[in-house]
């Protein structure tokens, strides 16, 4: 029988590498921002699982507070990244870091 915190720790162990792979390989900037967010969720999941694993009754509030802070920082980072992505799009007409020869549409379907 598997413990509850282990179920979610394993979920995190799948989500973080998947998101990292997408973050590194998919060129579309909005997709990178989404991947960053999924990766952050995975890290938070591991942190809160640690708090749950060591809980004898009430779980440790410190990781919870850290995750709360992390969620707000994640929002700030995503918002700034989206402004930058839009600026890149406005300047280059491209949704990636590269000046790709494909239309942005091709970029999407190629994934």
């Amino acid at each position: 029988v598997i413990a509850q915190h282990q179920i979610f720790a394993f979920t995190a162990a799948l989500l973080v590498p998947l998101a990292l792979y997408v973050l590194l390989t998919v060129p579309h900037l909005l997709r990178k921002i989404v991947a960053l967010n999924v990766m952050a969720s995975g890290v938070f999941l591991l942190l809160v699982s640690v708090a749950r694993a060591r809980a004898a009754g009430e779980p440790d509030p410190v990781p919870h507070a850290m995750v709360l802070t992390g969620i707000v920082v994640g929002l700030s980072v995503s918002a700034l990244a989206m402004v930058l992505a839009r600026r890149i799009y406005r300047e280059t007409g491209d949704t990636t870091f590269y000046q790709a020869e494909h239309e942005p549409q091709d970029e999407e379907t190629r994934e």
Partner: protein, 325 residues
């Protein structure tokens, strides 16, 4: 397998599947909507892991605001694509996306990380932590451990967090090349009578819920950040519906609100250094008052920052190629 275990297993599987779809779905709009669903599933997971504070924040910020920003960014990129389709000269051919040269090392890194994290998940420490008791013993006169950690024991984190939020707003202004923080309704999308009526009903409720969450934070799950985001969402709705209410908030008021949380925190830190022995120390006997002031300031700042970031992300008329009103 008990019912609770089954629920956790199904929830974990849904998280992985939804996460996969968010990351790989070819239609980006679908990915953005699924991202909201992913955030709500995460909120459920937080509840299962006995973290209701995190669940509230995830539902409001992770699923709500980030999801809205994503869909919004996507929509505007599409508008701009149409607006720019004709005059733009073909971009010079350059490096293509990801080739095997990128994919192989990225795959290897991801696999290594997965192995390390699975190993960590196997060996998660399970010795009971005495931290909850220690926090409870020293958090007098506060009643909520998470609030106590955020504003008493690790208030430096919260100070920096508000600083990062402020930096995001400043970064947005720099990248957009804007001078002020006006949210002129003239820039908002076309009016829609259904939306206006709905918003008129929803905004008072959102304000009440925000205030309630702020008050709740003193003794139960809730607090400044959750309250601020709910208030900010009300502001986003007001602006989207073209309501004149936001015009009453002058640009300098937006600036003051955005800077308020970080400013009050900094002032508290400085006062603590000067008079009470340490940065972010509070005078004896006034801890609850100080925490309430800091929480109120943080909530207002979060709300204003969310509105300003959302409105600032919208292309103004000079950039949207006639997409404005």
């Amino acid at each position: 397998v008990s019912g609770a275990e089954l629920f956790d297993l199904v929830l974990a599987a849904s998280l992985v599947v939804t996460g996969m779809l968010v990351l790989t779905s070819a239609d980006f709009l679908r990915a953005a909507v699924l991202f909201i669903a992913f955030g709500l599933l995460m909120a459920l997971a937080w509840m299962r892991l006995l973290a209701p504070d995190v669940a509230l924040a995830e539902a409001a910020i992770g699923a709500g605001v980030t999801g809205v920003l994503l869909i919004d960014a996507l929509r505007h990129m599409e508008w701009e694509r149409e607006a720019f389709a004709a005059p733009r000269e073909a971009p010079p051919p350059a490096r293509t996306g990801s080739t095997a040269r990128v994919r192989v090392p990225a795959g290897a890194a991801a696999a290594a990380l997965c192995g390390a994290m699975v190993a960590a998940a196997w060996h998660l420490p399970s010795t009971p932590s005495d931290m909850p008791t220690r926090v409870r013993m020293q958090m007098e006169p506060l009643e909520q451990p998470v609030t106590a950690v955020l504003l008493l024991f690790r208030s430096f984190d919260t100070l920096l967090e508000l600083g990062i939020l402020l930096l995001a707003v400043l970064g947005m202004l720099v990248v957009r090349g804007r001078r002020g923080l006006g949210t002129s309704v003239a820039l908002s999308p076309p009016r829609d009578p259904m939306l206006e009526a709905t918003v008129r009903l929803l905004v008072p409720i959102a304000v009440c819920v925000g205030g309630y969450l702020l008050w709740l934070g003193t003794f139960a799950a809730g607090g400044a950040f959750q309250a601020g985001v709910v208030l900010g969402a009300a502001g986003m709705l007001l602006w989207l519906s073209g309501h004149r209410g936001l015009d009453a908030v002058r640009p300098w008021i937006w600036q003051a609100l955005v800077a308020l949380g970080f400013g009050v925190f900094l002032a508290t830190a400085a006062a603590g250094m000067l008079w009470w022995g340490a940065a972010l120390a509070y005078p004896r006997g006034s801890v609850s008052v100080m925490v309430e002031v800091l929480e109120g300031a943080a909530a207002l700042s979060v709300a204003a920052s969310v509105v300003v970031l959302f409105v600032g992300l919208h292309p103004s008329r000079d950039t949207s190629g006639g997409a404005g009103r």
